[in-house]
């Protein structure tokens, strides 16, 4: 029962929703609309799990002293402070939570991500080597796109443009080469990836519906 009931729900729900895409029956259509409404309400409560795991993990780190207790405490205190401020003062523009959002959350998240700019420059110097044929192709394509996406690439193309029998032709046409790489070989390989990913999603979906994939029950 503990396993059968959820499996049955998944099977019936999955089958009904999979078929409704192909079969136009009013009843099935109404069920579809109802299911979408239910999803929105149920998703609200799924949040409990996320909050639970965050608090549980931080509390465990604090109790077991796997790291300096200041760090899990910082997370817990900042979490509860924001929550209490929100409950007492609301979330409107100008509220304390909105103030924290604008002055701490937004700039600090942006700063964390900006570290990646430094790492990519360091990686360009230390790891981007033409070691064999494949890495040389990768490097050349990357450098063409790098030049093709900056205004200097446009300028170089203009400077090196010559006229052959009335037709303009750029010798170093980085933007043109970039466009070609992106719209021709890139489209081919990304399309292959899209096929692979989509077939993977569809087959996993079928495995879930048929009860072959049961990892989510653990």
């Amino acid at each position: 029962m503990k396993i059968m009931a959820p499996l049955l729900i998944v099977f019936i729900g999955g089958m009904l929703m999979a078929f409704q895409y192909y079969i136009d029956i009013p009843l099935l259509n109404n069920i579809y609309k109802g299911v979408l409404d239910w999803h929105m309400v149920i998703a609200v409560f799924a949040l409990v799990i996320a909050v639970k795991s965050l608090i549980e993990r931080q509390w465990k780190n604090f109790r077991q002293k796997t790291e300096h207790p200041v760090y899990p405490l910082t997370t817990l205190i900042s979490f509860f402070t924001v929550v209490f401020l929100g409950i007492f003062f609301g979330l409107k523009q100008g509220s304390p939570v909105n103030f924290i959002y604008n002055n701490l959350l937004v700039p600090l998240q942006a700063t964390i991500f900006s570290l990646l700019a430094f790492y990519i420059s360091s990686a360009a110097y230390r790891a981007f080597r033409a070691k064999n044929f494949s890495s040389t192709v990768l490097l050349i394509a990357a450098m063409i796109v790098v030049m093709g996406r900056i205004p200097l690439g446009d300028l170089i193309a203009t400077w090196t443009t010559i006229s052959i029998s009335g037709k303009d032709f750029a010798i170093l046409d980085f933007p043109g080469w970039t466009r070609w790489i992106l719209t021709v070989p890139n489209v081919g390989i990304k399309r292959a990836f899209i096929f692979g990913i989509t077939l993977g999603i569809v087959s996993t979906s079928l495995k879930v519906i048929l009860g072959i994939e049961r990892g989510w029950l653990k």
Binding site: G13, T74, L105, A110, T111, L116, I120, V137, V146, F195
Partner: protein, 202 residues
Amino acid sequence: MVEIITLILMLFVLSFLMGDNPFFKFTERLIVGISAGYGFLKLFDDGFIKKFWIPLVQEGQYWVIIPGLLGMMFFFTFSKKWNFLAKYPLAFLLGTGVGLEIGPRIETSILRQINATAVNFSGMSAGQVINYIIILVALLTTMYYFLFVLRRDRPAEKLIANIGIFFMMLGFGASFGYTIMGRISLLIEVINIFFEKITSIF
């Protein structure tokens, strides 16, 4: 005052470039807490209040009680004995979710993409025809490389796989070239924020 605090915390984050340190760790954890708290409040306000409480209490839409009760079964994750009941709402979300996914995914990402690959050459210039053939070759060789990984001993098959690798490297190179711009943009933004904060202090 708050500008100074923001600037100091931003510097704490950037201090990670010198290696992991307590200042960075503190700020990182602070962001995690604030972000989770903000997310929780938003979900409570935009979700629980607007999608459950207001329809139920103010608008008399009693149907929300049923999915609401199903959603509340998530609370059973807190109990060791009744833990299995929390799987029921999950089963509903998962089952109907994957069911809803199959048809539209196949149509959007397989059928329409095949349609765009299998084009009619009539009326096209020679250049366009060559480009479409290259797209097709890149597509087929890449798929070959991933789907038929077992037989690499035959020279012809090795050649096909190598052509696939060549196109993939072109594509990955293009992605990498693009990525550089994305990463630099993030740093430009942070410098902009720095300028703004410093200007507002003085």
